[in-house]
């Protein structure tokens, strides 16, 4: 197998013709500050993320990109001693306001983690988990249909349809991650957050996840954190560059990678530091 020939044709230049700003604003973040105890991990983040686009968050380790992602579905709430200031609106609603139902928020804002975390249950039960939990289906048939549809959306159905009741832990790493994506899609979120979803996978499994992201953006607003700049260039429409807890700049991905406004961004994307 020659090294320079791609194994499968990959979607190159995933870029929309529509400029980001012409789309509906799905996530509106204003003056967001985040603290772990006394340490400020995010500083005055203001950014708008648009619907049906893939936004990539890049930056060196510890720059706050994962923290930022986790503020969008309040996953940081479970960490003791953390504090949030500022405003985050998802679909027009302030998610840190009074009387916000965090459970309902997390149903609408799905999340896929860096390390695949299937539950020690069957493949079917993993995907059905959120559906059952949120009482989103009324019959067994409907449950089965929704599980199948989710597995199809995550491009996993063909590989697992004959062993739906086997343990999810028997799947390969890449399959497990797609299962976690299927699990997140099953409850039909608006927004899908992905925290380095491919960093623990081999190149082929990574490519499948990237193809999947490309397909999913028709139906979802996707925010992805990645360490891999080629990946950000391949899958995203918009790229946000974080550095030391600050959002240095965010723009169309081609602009960030070819003609960024800030010197810091240019140094980072060209590999001069990081």
């Amino acid at each position: 197998m020659s090294a320079d020939r791609p194994l499968v044709a990959r979607p190159t230049a995933v870029r929309s013709d529509v400029a980001p700003t012409e789309r509906e604003v799905k996530i509106d973040v204003a003056k967001l500050n985040f603290y772990y105890g006394a340490k400020r991990a995010l500083e005055d983040i203001t950014v708008q993320l648009h619907s049906n686009l893939v936004t990539a968050c890049i930056g060196p380790s510890g720059c706050g990109k994962s923290t930022f992602l986790r503020t969008l579905n309040r996953m940081n709430d479970v960490i003791p001693g953390t504090r949030v200031e500022g405003r985050v609106q998802v679909a027009g609603r302030d998610i840190y306001g009074d009387g916000v139902d965090v459970v309902e928020l997390r149903r609408r804002v799905g999340m896929v983690f860096q390390k695949s975390n299937p539950f020690p249950k069957s493949i079917f039960d993993n995907v059905a988990y959120g559906l059952r939990l949120n009482r989103m289906v009324s019959s067994r048939n409907e449950l089965h249909d929704r599980v199948e549809a989710s597995l199809r959306s995550a491009a996993l159905w063909e590989e697992v349809k004959d062993r739906l009741h086997d343990s999810a832990l028997a799947l390969s790493g890449g399959q497990q991650q797609r299962l976690c994506i299927a699990r997140a899609l099953a409850i039909q979120p608006d927004v899908l957050l992905m925290d380095e979803p491919a960093s623990a996978l081999d190149p082929i499994a990574t490519q499948r996840i990237e193809e999947l992201i490309y397909q999913l953006k028709n139906d979802y607003t996707i925010v992805i954190v990645t360490h891999n700049m080629q990946q950000a260039a391949r899958v995203s429409d918009v790229t946000a560059f974080f550095w030391l807890g600050k959002l240095i700049e965010s723009d169309r991905t081609d602009v960030i990678f070819t003609n960024p406004r800030e010197k810091l961004t240019e140094d980072y994307v060209t590999g001069r530091f990081g």
């Binding site: 996953m75 459970v103 149903r107 799905g110 983690f113 975390n117 539950f119 988990y129 997140a184």
Partner: protein
Amino acid sequence: MTATTWRKLKSSLFVGFCAGSVLIALVPLAFILFFVVKEGVQALNLDFFIRMPKPVGEAGGGMAMAIVGTLMVAGLGSLFAIPVGILSGVYISEYAGSRLSSLVRFAADTLNGVPSIVIGVFVYTIAVLPVKHFSALAGGLALGIMMIPIIARTTEELLLLVPSAMREGALALGATRGKAMFTVILPAALPGIITGVVLALARIAGETAPLLFTAFNNRFFSTSLTQPISSLTVQVYTYAISPYADWHRQAWAGALVLVTIVLLCSLLARLATRRLEHMQAR
């Protein structure tokens, strides 16, 4: 002597010490098992399991009431201790770091260290004195109190071993904290928790002291919860200190049956644990 030979010698010496220590640890177990089996099988026959004790001087008879009694008090203890122990373990792990959680953990460790005779006397004052008679229920309560800290601490340790990614995965799908615990984290830890419960069971099945003050003993076959009930341990104790050779033989047989019950429990739990793990990982 070169440096290498000296190092090799030191290594061999150390391995030798380790092997010796293992031997010293295993010898008592081997002797106990050997004598229990050797002496026990002599008096062991079908009658032992299905017959009641004969009066002194008559040969034969069995310990049917003690076998049933042991199973009953151990069962009652489990019935009481398993839910309380597991839920305490859930509390300690879920609120780890809070002051009450540390207090509960400390209390569990202290309770675990309380001599069993003291627990017997305690249950005697709260469950025997007020009703003025010994009962199987009081025996079960005493054994249950001994099981709670073991189960609680095992549960806590196993729950903390479940990766936090599992919890986050459930929360991200809209689970509440309680739902995440009871639908994902606890099931993930279940195989280990079962092992812990059985270890606790094995530990209390051999207790004599707390039963002397609570279940006491009963020469007659009884399954009543409110009546005194016999148990293998108390029966073995009574027979072993008696002056009759025939009773001594019976005591050995009782000890053998007790050891076998504990062994069977461990084996069953092993099997159940492996089944569960297999189901989760296949």
